[in-house]
Subunit: 330 residues, 2 copies
DNA sequence: ACTGCGCTTGCAAGCGCTTTCATTGCACGG
DNA sequence: CCGTGCAATGAAAGCGCTTGCAAGCGCAGT
């Protein structure tokens, strides 16, 4: 009944060539003679052949599968990067297996193991893996591993990111330059935010400022937290003059709650975000933020992957930097 | 040098059993004798064996790979659903290949073909496939196909969604009940939004209302469009009393721009959104929206997939409905 | 003791490709 | 006219796993 799906052999027979030639045509069209290519093309159309990549993966030890591990995608700052990566990889003929590692990377190990079992060609991590054993495990594996959004001292393989600490320091410098005196930090509970907060605090204090107050919030961070964070300001012994938020969402929520309370931003309270989401530039007032070029990260990932596919070597540490974007809110 | 990765054989030898038994242990632990299982478990640990799923897929004609096709993930209303699905599927031992079909589903066919080539166990579509040839193609394939967020007359295989037209009608009924007279629609250029707008307009007019004015905006819709949409109201011959937005993002941006212009929402201008994002309930004023239970969609998808995996049959049309959530903005 | 049954296990045949190696055919220079 | 070399192709050996089939085993029933 169900006439089994056509295979390479069927196409080959139809075209009057061997399976090997069809395979070559599929993977390296330029090595087969023009006339042959034409016959094969016709045969493929005639049989409506769809290659079986599972078989190809086994035989060729190349799955064309890339694993992307991210904490979440609900409203994540990584989404733009992930989207660009998927786009680029797809046009190279790869597919992306998206795995969620959850807050605190709770499922990180399980997902890395799954990626290894699938024999993906590369694993793209968000943030850096802290578990030493896991790092070794990955290093021992022939798979390409790219750590993004962070710059560890010794990358497992390749790291593409920036220094969160430096970003924090830069924001401290920026706000100090604008004359603010009493910063308050709203810090999502992720190692990256924590690092930025450290950088901010260290720099601020070293420059003679008073120790910033701080509030920690759960990840993933969102709009509602901004509102709550605003209310929490009331509990502070002294009112801050600027609130440094760990994400643009929080900043937006905080601004809206402040405005609803009749507080003018930035005159009475300045606010900064992080991530420079598109919304930050559209908000009223526009939000001062830190821009990370997610597209650039995606491009670098693609570049590295292409280089690897071509058998070339690449740098192992790529700093994409960041930029404080001064806008109306601070 | 690089001692080749351990295979099933290596584990088998180590455990003193045949490869077949190890395979069975891996896929059906309960069929191997307790003592044997223990020896195999030890052997796996000793050799740090990681199964090769590519080989497993070829031999077992089951990839445990699910393709999820969505238009985008940048700030998509589908993200919650996708996230829940990935979570659920991962805990069943599957992996999700996320493919982006782009605005207008420009890359839909290419990605469906890729999914077919990978021999995924199921394809989860966002929205319904309009290309008749493609629908036939999918029907002819043994793969499970689930269309979500829509309810076509004749699903390719299984459809899990709701009627966008009915949602539009319901919103018309709701606003009319509240006494609004001059609605203005901000409609993203997607077939789903379009359908809701049609439903709204038909109902509104049938109930004796004046034809709503409308503005079309590009997808993916975002905050900034809301601001622009507000400004565009000035071009209208008559000022609307309620703006029905195709997404909560647009509604939020519109509200903020209106407020910045000194307009009180909802007193002077009411606004509704769609999607009931978390933010909608946190905004000032809170946004009246239409809730789609994305988690429910995800759960139904899982249920269907599990049933299929168990060889059972399932309903082919599952209506998850929607609910107008009345809040402050309208 | 013999038969039969259920539970475990092993054997071996693939799954549909890729790739190495060898072969063929042909153009070309000597 | 023959030897060379290159371009194009074919033959066949896997890639590492799953699974149908059959056999071994211990035990209950007769």
């Amino acid at each position: 009944m169900a006439p089994r799906a056509p295979r390479l052999d069927d196409v080959a027979a139809q075209a009057g060539v061997s399976a090997a030639t069809v395979s070559r045509f599929l993977n390296n069209p330029e090595v087969v003679a023009k006339a042959t290519a034409e016959r094969i093309r016709a045969a493929i159309a005639a049989t409506s052949y769809v290659p079986n990549m599972a078989a190809g993966a086994l035989a060729g030890s190349r799955t064309r599968l890339i694993a992307a591990l991210v904490p979440d995608i609900a409203a994540s700052i990584f989404n733009d990067t992930v989207e660009s990566m998927i786009d680029g990889l797809a046009s190279d003929g790869n597919s992306v297996v998206l795995a969620l590692t959850g807050p605190d990377n709770g499922r990180l190990e399980a997902e890395i193991n799954m990626a290894l079992a699938r024999r993906v060609d590369a694993i793209i991590l968000t943030g850096i893996v802290t578990n030493a054993e896991m790092r070794e495990r990955l290093r021992a594996n022939p798979v390409t591993v790219i750590e993004t959004w962070g710059l560890p001292e010794e990358p497992i393989d390749v790291a593409i990111g920036f220094s969160h600490r430096a970003a924090g320091e830069e924001m401290a410098r920026f706000l100090r330059g604008r004359g603010y005196r009493r910063p308050h930090l709203v810090v999502p509970r992720s190692s990256r935010s924590e690092r930025r907060a450290m950088g901010f605090t260290d720099r601020w204090v070293r420059d003679g400022g008073v120790d910033p107050t701080r509030l920690e919030v759960n990840v993933p961070s969102h709009f509602g937290q901004g509102r709550l964070s605003y209310r929490a300001l009331a509990d502070l012994p002294e009112r801050p003059d600027v609130v440094v938020c760990g994400s643009d969402w929080i900043a937006q929520g905080l601004i809206i709650e402040a405005q609803a309370a009749g507080i003018r931003v930035p005159d009475q309270l300045a606010v900064t975000g992080f991530g420079n989401l598109r919304m930050a530039g559209d908000m009223r007032p526009t939000i001062t933020s830190v821009d990370i070029d997610g597209g650039r990260i995606a491009r670098e990932v693609l570049r590295v992957l292409r280089a690897r596919a071509a058998g070339e070597t690449t740098e192992t540490k790529i700093d994409v930097g960041f930029r404080v974007i001064a806008r109306e809110s601070a």
